[in-house]
């Protein structure tokens, strides 16, 4: 990728948002003709022409407000002095932006502002980066005739409650940009202007400290603030940055583009990129603020090895680590066979790194034992969408939601897990789109400020397929399907079979009401609403995929979308919300044991030949082991060596005790990570990985968008992750000699038709690219399946409901479902090492008041949670967010042991674990579980073994 350093300057700001009109209007501004789309404001039109009208309350991320009166202009034939931010262009309009009269008014306005503003510019955190300061200069303010002795706000106290930013009300000019950002950009409505006139002030919730308020710490207000009133603590501490680099967030599947604003190799702040195609200048608490983990003291910076997991680590050179690992792996293969080793790629790593790990496994290990953590999240999406539509990916871009008339959210909690997209979705909902939520819990979207679901279907965990079939049953039985679409776009024989199936009365809402717990009338009403509008879109998450019928549910969703004609254009579609940043990419890159890059089955000899030729090896045509199969094979002694890049299976995968049994059975495990994570405690080789700030590469988000990841600092351990994989490969005797990840992407493009047109040069030029990108779609594909499905005709698949084996019994009467929260990410390895702990320092058990009372459980009590797999102890939070019979927790903290309780039950097609349904019992206890006590002991031992490495031997 091109040189990345860009000297620091504030992002361009055109004052008001762009107009989307196709009609062009020409106006004259200061004698210059300017042609802009109708609906553009005079302020923006001028800015586009390079004429900067002074402004304070206007910014192009927010609707015009017209309060500061700095942007007044003279318009020929118009009365008075209109504010240019609220005045739209008209054909032939003649505007003058600079006259003596305007200058006098602007100076007077600034004089008033400054009369109640501390004059400490030289020691102010935003000195040199302050719009108020700029405007004082622009209007030529030279004196403040009012003095500073009158009433003012200089004594107002700072609010430092938020760990990431400070609110200094003495510097506030009450422009409302923060309040409007909270409303318009984030959609939380946590801020308001309290009081009137001179007493007006910005207040969080009910005049509470920011941390205690409804504020979600997304940073939109900080970004919108034109002064130092809301400023990042890191900026206050370090000063204004000197350069910035555009890169991509390493948290969730939204894949926000950020400006890493830097001083040398130190990140001062991460600011969402206004030109970011996925996020359009918005962010969440994780991407915006929680980057401190990258330089946390727990980072491991030297490679380490050991013979057994109960001896101290030994710090070694990179070459020694590669040799140690390679010798072990080759010895295992010699003793147990070629197939006794394998690798796990990471959805947290780049496409190039993932591609390289699967290449290492296939070409150097000589087998197909490669899998990815997508196995435990979205593998059913791959199976279901490939089967029905022909491509293992979501069908839209995020912006498509702005054209949806009905949004159906199934088993996803976007405000917590995909917050930036949730804000966009909420914007559309505030514009009037209807909302259907299918979720056992009353997630925030069910009812939040200015958003309320039209229908909430609070189904019993495990009954997804019954519900989706019932919805489709209503559509077909009431004649609401889009026959033209089906006739033209779908396989009619398959449709006929499906139609017969779906019309079976056993699929009616009434028939499944008892099973699902959702009133039939609600299901019918929701189905009618979904089928009645021009554009209906489905968004789903792990509440769909992480079930014993995850794949069936994905196909059921595709069936419903096809039956109602909701595919192949903007505003519709089947949209999997991917959990981690590069879930889509890791799947695209051939991480599955049955598929080479581009979702091509290993049994296809032509595809194998293509790769064999490029890689100079012979490739196996039989599928390899999936992650759960690897664990089973390890326990039975058939699988002995594992290379894990950037994953923490000992915490994230289900049935922890089975996983750790498997890991303990390995003769060599190589873990590549930033920290000594739970898995690494069972490892023999540790490769210290590099964070997203320390390497080049690309991530592919939930909308198939490939975005550049750019190095802003040198890798703390000396090597980027792809270089580490390359080192291991070379040590194993399979040569790799890439000089830069761009060469890896070039190889991917050579071998993968959907990536044919992708290159770093094109990514530099376009900013991001949605695959497929090839000769047919040179700049990528925002919407898939437009004229025909990738597989040709859309395939309706019969989706019989098969109840899960995980059912509530007398012994285990409750159903546990697991999920995520806003401030923490996945296993928490990153976010637990940031101030995000202020919001969530432990995992808790949500339990309905009815179930709690029956068990004598009170708020905050220790609760034992027991399933057939194991037992753990969590604190109780009593809430009606969960229905009676259902309990809920998260798995962000290892000591919580949420996955000690989850079982080995999995999706029939893909073995994706059934995290969302575990039959459990809950009861009041007074001490931690046996597993937790053993965990504490083992953790202490492993930390000690690490400490001894750090204190011990020199690097050899």
């Amino acid at each position: 990728m091109s040189k990345d350093f860009i000297p620091y300057q504030r992002a361009d700001d055109f004052g008001t948002p762009a107009s989307t009109s196709d009609r062009i209007v020409t106006v004259t501004i200061d004698g210059e003709e300017v042609a802009v789309p109708a609906g553009t404001t005079v302020l923006r039109a001028a800015a586009l022409a390079g004429i900067n009208i002074p402004k304070l309350c206007a910014t192009d991320s927010l609707k015009a407000f017209g309060s500061c009166r700095l942007c007044l202009v003279e318009i020929e034939g118009a009365k008075g002095l209109p504010a240019s931010c609220t005045t739209e262009v008209r054909a032939g309009m003649k505007v003058t932006t600079q006259t003596q009269r305007l200058a006098d008014i602007r100076r007077n306005v600034m004089e008033l502002y400054i009369s109640d503003h501390p004059l400490d510019c030289l020691t102010c955190p935003t000195n040199g980066d302050c719009e108020l300061q700029d405007m004082a200069g622009v209007v030529g303010l030279r004196e403040v005739r009012y003095g500073y002795e009158g009433a003012n706000h200089f004594a107002a106290e700072k609010d430092k409650s938020n760990p990431y930013f400070t609110f200094d009300p003495t510097k506030c000019i009450v422009c409302s940009r923060c309040v409007r950002a909270c409303e318009e950009v984030q959609g939380t409505y946590a801020l308001t202007i309290d009081g009137r006139g001179f007493a007006s002030k910005v207040a969080a919730s009910q005049n509470q400290p920011f941390l205690d308020s409804e504020c979600v710490s997304c940073g939109a207000c900080v970004q919108a603030c034109p002064t130092a009133t809301l400023a990042e603590n890191s900026l206050i501490e370090k000063g204004v940055p000197e350069h910035h680099v555009i890169t991509t967030c390493a948290y969730c599947g939204v894949g926000c583009s950020f400006r890493a604003e830097m001083k040398g190799q130190e990140v001062v702040r991460m600011v969402p990129n206004k030109d970011g195609h996925a996020n359009h200048g918005h962010s969440c608490v994780k991407g915006r603020f929680a980057f401190g983990y990258a330089t946390h003291k727990d980072r491991i910076k030297k490679p380490m090895v050991r013979e057994t997991i109960h001896e101290p680590w030994r710090e070694v050179s990179w070459d020694e680590a590669f040799k140690f690992a390679a010798d072990k792996l080759r010895a295992i293969q010699k003793k147990y066979g070629k197939g006794a080793i394998g690798g796990i790629t990471s959805s947290r790593c780049t496409n190039e790194e993932t591609y390289l790990v699967q290449k290492l496994v296939r070409a150097a290990f000589g087998n197909n034992n490669v899998d990815t953590c997508a196995r435990v999240c979205h593998s059913p999406t791959g199976y279901g969408l490939k089967t029905t539509l022909g491509e293992s990916a979501g069908t839209q871009n995020f912006d498509s939601v702005m054209k949806a008339d009905v949004i159906m959210v199934i088993g996803a909690n976007p405000t917590d897990a995909h917050p930036v997209f949730a804000s966009q979705m909420k914007r559309r909902l505030r514009e009037g789109a209807k909302l259907i939520i299918v979720d056992p819990r009353a997630i925030d979207l069910v009812r939040s400020p200015h958003v309320e679901a039209d229908y909430h279907l609070p189904l019993r965990p495990g009954t997804n397929v019954a519900i989706i079939n019932a919805l489709a049953h209503v559509v077909v039985s009431e004649g609401l399907e889009k026959k033209d679409f089906i006739d033209k776009r779908c396989d009619l024989d398959a449709y006929k079979d499906w139609r017969t199936f779906i019309l079976d009365p056993r699929n009616s809402p009434e028939a499944v009401e008892e099973e699902t717990g959702v009133p039939a009338a609600t299901v019918r009403a929701a189905a009618r609403l979904f089928a009645s509008v021009p554009n209906a879109a489905i968004y789903y998450g792990l509440g769909v995929s992480e079930h014993s019928q995850g794949s069936t549910m994905v196909m059921g969703i595709a069936n419903l979308a096809m039956a109602t004609g909701n595919l192949g254009r903007e505003g519709v579609g089947v949209n999997p919300l991917r959990g981690q940043n590069n879930v889509q990419g890791s799947c695209d890159m051939g991480s599955f044991p049955h598929e080479l890059p581009g979702y091509r089955h290993v049994s296809n000899p032509k595809v194998r030949e293509l790769f064999a030729k490029e890689w100079g090896v012979t490739l196996g045509g039989e599928p390899g082991l999936r992650i759960p199969n690897m664990f089973d094979a390890a326990v039975s002694g058939q699988f002995k060596g594992l290379y894990v890049q950037g994953e923490d299976v000992a915490q994230s995968d289900p049935d922890t005790q089975h996983v750790t049994h498997a890991l303990s059975s390995l003769e060599c495990m190589i873990v590549q990570d930033l920290f000594l994570n739970e898995t690494a405690k069972f490892a023999h080789v540790f490769f210290p990985g590099s964070s997203f700030l320390e390497k080049n590469g690309t991530f592919t988000n939930a909308e198939r968008r490939i975005s550049p990841v750019r190095k802003v600092m040198e890798p703390l351990a000396g090597l980027e992750d792809w270089e580490q994989t390359q080192g291991l490969s070379n040590a194993m005797g399979y040569p790799m000699s890439y000089k830069h990840p761009s060469e890896i992407m070039d190889e991917i493009a050579r071998l993968t038709p959907t990536f044919e047109g992708v290159s770093y040069a094109k990514l530099d030029a376009l900013g991001s690219i949605q695959w497929p990108c090839n000769a047919k779609a040179v700049e990528g594909t925002p919407t898939m399946h437009i004229d025909e499905f990738v597989r040709g005709k859309g395939l309706f698949r019969v989706t019989p409901y098969v109840p899960t084996d995980e059912i509530s019994t007398r012994k285990y009467p409750l159903l546990l479902t697991t999920g995520r929260i806003l401030s923490q990410y996945n296993v928490g390895a990153q976010t637990r090492r940031t101030e995000n702990l202020k919001w969530h320092d432990e995992d808790v058990l949500e339990i309905n008041p009815h179930d709690a009372e029956q068990r004598g459980i009170e708020e905050g009590d220790w609760v034992g949670l027991q399933s057939r797999a194991g037992e753990t102890v969590l604190r109780a939070v009593i809430t009606e967010r969960v229905t009676p019979g259902v309990v809920y927790t998260t798995f962000h903290h290892p000591e919580s042991g949420a996955n000690v309780v989850t079982t080995d039950n999995s999706d029939w097609a893909t073995n994706c674990p059934e995290y969302k349904v575990t039959a459990v019992q809950a009861f009041k206890v007074t001490k931690l579980s046996e597993w937790q006590r053993n965990f504490e002991e083992f953790t202490e031992e492993q930390i000690d073994l690490l400490r001894r490495a750090r204190a011990g031997q020199p690097v050899t």
């Binding site: 197939g339 199936f501 014993s548 019928q549 794949s551 069936t552 044991p593 049955h594 089955h601 049994s603 039989e622 599928p623 390899g624 082991l625 999936r626 199969n629 089973d632 094979a633 326990v635 039975s636 058939q638 019969v798 019989p800 098969v802 080995d904 999995s906 029939w908 097609a909 893909t910 073995n911």
Partner: protein, 76 residues
């Protein structure tokens, strides 16, 4: 590998392909699935289990694995 898990997986696959009277079609789908997603070692172990009687396999899974055994006589 734990053959009980393989049996459970095979039965689960069969249950999801079973719809209507055409058991042969369902068994063919199960067979295709096993070919596409299971490793040779898993094939071998489930065939061995089936050859030992395979009592816990449901009808469709058993039919699919019988065909798999025909395809892979060496595994049996």
């Amino acid at each position: 590998m734990d053959v009980n898990k393989l049996v459970r997986m095979a039965n689960q696959i069969a249950a999801n392909f079973e719809y209507g009277p055409d058991k042969e079609k369902a068994a063919a789908s199960v067979l295709d699935h096993l070919r596409r997603f299971w490793t040779p070692q898993m094939h071998t172990e489930i065939i061995e289990y089936r050859n030992r009687g395979g009592t816990e396999l449901n009808e469709i899974a058993a039919a699919a694995i019988a065909k798999l055994a025909e395809e892979k006589p060496r595994a049996a």
